[in-house]
Symmetry: C2
Subunit: 200 residues, 2 copies
Amino acid sequence: MAGRPREFDRDQALRQAMLAFWRRGYEGTSMSDLVAALGIASARIYAAFGSKEELFREAVALYAAGDGGFADLALSQEDDVVAAIQRMLADAVALYTRDDLPHGCMVVSAATNCSEQNDGVLEWLRAQRQARTQSVTERLRRGVADGQLGPDADVDALGDFYAAQLHGVSVQARDGVPRERLLASLAVAMTPLRIAAGKA
Amino acid sequence: MAGRPREFDRDQALRQAMLAFWRRGYEGTSMSDLVAALGIASARIYAAFGSKEELFREAVALYAAGDGGFADLALSQEDDVVAAIQRMLADAVALYTRDDLPHGCMVVSAATNCSEQNDGVLEWLRAQRQARTQSVTERLRRGVADGQLGPDADVDALGDFYAAQLHGVSVQARDGVPRERLLASLAVAMTPLRIAAGKA
DNA sequence: TCAATTGTTTGTCGATCGACAAATAATAGA
DNA sequence: TCTATTATTTGTCGATCGACAAACAATTGA
């Protein structure tokens, strides 16, 4: 273990790559874009990250481990299922409309339309969205087990519904719908769950 | 007005282009992809449509004038506002999950992530999504005027909510969520409006 | 001091991108 | 038939894509 020390901050470069991919997507961000964003030559990027695709996957992992991980946090940290879903949606709106970050969800918008040769990353992000849907559904199921939701609550339908709401809010935020409006529509989205919880 | 007659069916070629763009998006569909899909040389495509971008815009217009125009139809043809929104969502699910067509909404998924030079088409599709949101909101407002919704119904919040639901269902359909599940989540999505209509 | 190892610089690679020029072919009207 | 007009064929253009090779620089451990 020797060798010349790296002259740039790999974590900082990765974060810049994340922001670039978040803003313009995987194929929408070219290597020359990355060179400009990271401030280093392309050969250094390849030496540090392997390839554009590997860099992208690391960037998405960084997103998921940071701000993008709000959903699992909300679902696991709130004891009440209604509060959990409410917080998940509110955190989504807060993140997707932050002024200092690209709008919308990186997992939703970074690889929706891409060429055939990059179907791999497309499928990978798809799997992450599906996993999030399942997390929501399982949290709802726990809500039934905890007696917070009626035993006849259709947790699968509710899970798909709130997953769709998350994805839809991402699109809306990317389109520039302001935070206050998204929060207002969030209140609408909560009514089915409140009914299932007998709190309406 | 004379000249050699065109040897291919322009409408049919345009439809093939629409399907290609629908499936892979604007930048995800290369000129060579279009050459393969339309079955004609690239120079013929340029002669008939001007450029790739003009072809795309015509393709989206064809989509909006056809299957993609379901929303305005549902909103204008149904006298009851609840029935109108219900039908709009049901038609969306039906279209977005058709076996013989690309899944999801073309306007939502054809240009979410693209390079800087094509921000024009991105903005154009964004405007169409915003217009659809407004159509939904105005239909809800008419529902209040007609007395079908309570005078205190928050039509702006409901409009944003159902627009987000449309966008979210598009993402879900594209991810392979089956039709029956989307229809079940649609039933969940209808409860806020039914409450506003006093039918729950 | 000197290998071994790793990072950086510089330049460029083949493939593909969207787009079009020039030549040829087929029609309508004069 | 001849001219004007439009379509098709063929080939290729410059730009950009992602990716890397080779030479050089800086560090560690022997």
